[in-house]
């Protein structure tokens, strides 16, 4: 088949009302009455399975009971005890594969208690109503800790260290703190500049100083930090993106999905964002879903996700896949990119090849292809670690990511790490928060204990 010679990428595909509508809160908060009724569904389970399933081990039955007893502020404190980013996690956690999957009401009637929305109810109420931070700092210890990266891992670590009375300096390469909470999470999951409000809330504890625009490896070195500070925590995330490794990848219209989402999150005026009419997203994770959904919401007409394996292999949960599908995104499984068609420097088509698993379980192309006309191709095939900034310090890696022990200690005695940049994690906000918390406790033990 022949592919057209021009591509159609433009802004203002929709009316301004449509933009506001499309990017409003995807799961509107519960009203106070809804929260009471939903909270009453919780059985206050013994040794609650939801709590075991929560990476940060929030005492879920207790916080729900406090909502039910008319004490949402106390409920929020229970949440913040274990997860200081409980507000963001309430918005972005894939609860369908975490706490809510484990809820006994899922087993009973396929309708778990809406734990995520209840958590949001409690934390929102707290942040709207309470003037003061829920924790007080312990007496100053005189210890100084450097945290690199102000993403969920770094913020969580800094907060826990500050409560123990330590002084923390965060070095953050970007203009704003928050990490992917600010630059990566889909716009309709965190509206009204919540990420920045949360950074403010977390740092209200005191003793945390964020230095924005300071990059490790450019403005400071790891050796320097390790000698100037009593301990260092690395929460660098995954700065690189995987490449398709294909001819035409640098053509106009071939876009890194994480960048696309980041630009969208920072946009003052969504209608000014350009988007193609026909889009193919390559990948099968949350990033692929988010990019597909958001391009659709920006006015793209045909959006297809091409994933090289089957539905059951996708990293995005079934729920997220359905969400995309009900927004009109087509998901095509067992399809991998074969070649890009470029005309006048812009991508105009993509040929996908059908795949299958051979007898040994290896994925291979079948030779059968489909060619789609496209205006944009989004790459969402995973982010990559960057060991560059670690140069100089002797830190062991594992598949490019930092190796840590149970306590999130690296091979360097004064350096800890957590979040997406370490090996073996799950690349979720809540897991990063837990890493930061564990590391902070370990650092505290090492410095004081």
């Amino acid at each position: 088949m022949t592919v057209s010679e021009t591509s159609d990428v433009k802004a203002r595909r929709l009316s301004s009302a449509d933009y506001a509508d499309n990017f409003s809160d995807i799961h509107p908060p519960l009203t106070p009455h809804e929260a009471l009724v939903e909270a009453d569904r919780c059985y206050f389970c013994y040794d609650a399975p939801c709590m075991t399933a929560c990476p940060t081990s929030i005492d879920i039955p207790m916080f729900i009971r406090k909502i039910q007893a008319g004490n949402p502020v106390g409920s929020a404190k229970t949440i913040f005890d274990e997860n200081i980013l409980g507000g963001m996690c309430a918005r972005v956690c894939p609860t369908e594969t975490l706490c809510e999957e484990a809820c006994v009401r899922e087993a009973a009637e396929g309708k778990p208690v809406k734990i995520g929305l209840l958590q949001r109810h409690a934390t929102d109420t707290f942040m709207e109503r309470e003037q003061s931070h829920p924790f007080q700092r312990a007496a100053p210890t005189g210890k100084k800790i450097a945290v690199v990266g102000a993403g969920p891992a770094g913020l969580s670590c800094a907060h826990r260290l500050a409560t123990h009375g330590h002084d923390v300096t965060i070095f953050e390469a970007r203009e704003k703190a928050g990490g992917l909470n600010e630059y990566g999470i889909a716009a309709y999951k965190t509206t009204n500049d919540f990420a920045q409000d949360e950074v403010e809330f977390v740092t209200e504890i005191g003793g945390i100083n964020i230095e924005n625009g300071k990059a490790l490896g450019r403005d400071v070195t790891l050796d320097q930090l390790a000698s100037d500070y009593d301990a260092v925590f690395l929460g660098l995330g995954l700065p690189g993106v995987n490449a398709l490794g294909m001819e035409g990848e640098d053509a106009n219209g071939v876009v890194d999905a994480v960048d696309f989402i980041g630009v969208l999150r920072q946009a003052e005026d969504l209608s000014a964002l350009e988007v193609g009419r026909r889009i193919v997203v390559i990948g099968g994770g949350m990033t692929a879903i988010d990019a597909a959904m958001q391009s659709k919401l920006l006015g793209a007409e045909e959006v297809t996700i091409a994933y090289r394996r089957g539905q059951e292999h996708m990293n995005a949960s079934l729920y997220e896949q359905e969400l995309a599908q009900t927004h009109g995104v087509v998901i095509r499984h067992w399809m991998m990119p074969n070649s890009l068609h470029v005309s006048n420097g812009a991508v105009t088509g993509i040929t996908l090849e059908r795949t299958e698993l051979d007898a040994s379980g290896k994925l291979s192309g079948t030779g059968e292809t489909v060619t789609l006309e496209v205006d944009q191709v989004f790459k969402a095939i995973g982010q990559t670690p960057d060991a560059g900034p670690l140069a100089g310090a002797d830190i062991a890696l594992e598949k490019g990511r930092i190796r840590t022990d149970e306590a999130r200690r690296t091979s360097h005695p004064k350096i800890w790490a957590g979040g997406d940049c370490i090996a073996g994690g799950e690349d979720l906000t809540v897991v990063s928060v837990e890493d930061g918390k564990i590391a902070a406790e370990s650092i505290h033990q090492a410095l004081i204990g």
């Binding site: 009724v37 006994v104 009973a108």
Partner: protein
């Protein structure tokens, strides 16, 4: 289809559902609507003596207890008897009864505790054509401070005295409505019977404070910063009322005395329970005040369907059937042994049964077996108390299973198939020796 018609003291009604004396029966407008909706009868809102009508508060009259979805569980009120003019009430009663001859029309009365007052009002009520009278000896607030209502109902001698006056000055059947605000309901019931009353009805409302407003530190409902105890009713009071009805139904002195059951009746099932305890009719107030008159259609239909299913053609077929099964603790069979059993297929593993038994009962339910969540009853620790059944959120997931043979693994004693109770138990110092 089952026949729901009743004949209570000679008063006929097409079904046993009467509206209790309260706001729903305060005027012709409501009562007409009630009859249109299908109620079998009404007890007209309590009339007082001639003269200036009583005065209600002009602020809130109700306090409430709710479930989380604001389902009304209990209601309390500080309302008084009717505050409408006696003449108007009597005229309306006459007119409504004339229009609805097949429905029961009972008139509730409360006047001061002297013969003259009763002698004055009774003939006027009789003239309305009403089918019977109900004596309000129950209102716990306001009127009781004036020596009426519950303050009469708490003194059996007064009950008997007033009942006698009513029988003397009036040809209508007399129903004495009892107050639950008393330690032993059998005494006022016996007094009513001794006074010649034809029946008792119960319960009236229970003295109560439903809540304290934690901003103003005053009871609800609050009138200008103060609150007073009110009368409690609604679903929450049914257990108390059922017990009182049962006490009267099985008391040697009052057995067989007709009873109109009242208190927390919300559905046909509640009504069937009252009837099974011997009641000839039932009265409803809060449920109607919560949902409107239409609920009577659920009640009549539900009762009729259940009776059809069970093969009961008339109410008499099951009326009082539960009375012989109400007994004293000392007569319960001590050789009846049960153990809880958990249906593992139904269990959703919430662990409620475990923690209830572990923290507050007999440590008889596991939480973990071979490293996984698993809830199972250990027969050698289970006393059969039933707590786990009550806390389990899944229907029929835990059942109590009777042991009929072998040895009780908890006590090590063999199961004795014969009945034996406390009266002859060796540990009972007052155990009655066998006769021979």
């Amino acid at each position: 289809m089952a026949d729901l018609s009743t004949n209570f003291l000679g008063i006929k009604s097409p079904n046993p559902f009467w509206l209790a004396s309260a706001p729903p029966t305060d005027k012709a407008y409501n009562v007409e609507r009630a009859f249109e909706a299908g109620w079998g009868g009404v007890v007209w809102k309590t009339l007082g003596e001639a003269g200036p009508p009583v005065v209600n508060v002009n602020g809130p009259r109700y306090g409430a207890i709710w479930g989380p979805d604001r389902r009304l569980l209990g209601l309390n009120n500080i309302e008084l008897i009717t505050d409408r003019d006696l003449e108007i009430n009597l005229r309306e009663i006459t007119e409504v009864k004339k229009r609805w001859p097949d429905r029961a029309m009972i008139v509730s009365i409360m006047v001061p505790c002297d013969e003259q007052s009763w002698k004055a009002i009774l003939p006027r009520v009789e003239d309305t054509g009403a089918d019977g009278i109900e004596l309000n000896f129950g209102c716990p607030h306001g009127m009781s401070e004036r020596g009426m209502g519950a303050s009469v109902g708490q003194v059996p001698e007064y009950i008997q005295m007033v009942a006698e006056w009513c029988k003397q000055y009036c040809r209508l059947p007399v129903i004495v409505k009892l107050t639950p605000n008393i330690t032993d309901i059998r005494y006022p019931a016996r007094a009513a019977k001794a006074g010649g009353a034809d029946a008792v009805s119960l319960i009236n409302t229970i003295s109560s404070i439903v809540s304290i407003d934690l901003d103003n530190f005053a009871p609800m409902p609050t009138i200008d910063g103060k609150g007073s105890h009110g009368g409690y009713c609604g679903p929450a009071v049914k257990p108390i009322a059922l017990n009182m009805v049962a006490e009267i139904a099985r008391d040697a002195e009052t057995r067989g005395l007709p009873i109109s059951g009242i208190g927390g009746i919300q559905t046909w099932r509640d009504a069937a329970e009252y009837i099974a305890l011997g009641c000839g009719t039932v009265q409803v107030c809060t449920a109607a005040m919560t949902y409107g008159f239409k609920i009577v259609q659920e009640m009549t239909q539900g009762l009729s369907d259940w009776m059809d299913e069970k093969g009961y053609a008339t109410l008499a077929d099951f009326q009082g059937r539960a009375v012989p099964n109400v007994t004293d603790w000392q007569h319960l069979n001590l050789n009846y042994i049960t153990k809880a059993k958990i249906d593992q297929d139904l269990c959703i593993k919430c662990g409620r049964c475990h923690i209830a038994c572990e923290d507050t009962s007999h440590q008889a339910i596991t939480s973990m077996v071979d490293g996984v969540r698993h809830f199972e009853v250990m027969d050698d620790e289970c006393v059969g108390c039933n707590l786990c059944v009550n806390v389990c959120p899944v229907d029929d997931c835990i059942t109590m299973v009777e042991m009929t043979e072998g040895t009780d693994p908890r006590t090590g004693r063999p199961i004795d198939p014969d009945y034996a109770n406390w009266t002859t138990h060796p540990n009972n110092p007052m155990a009655k020796q066998a006769a021979e």
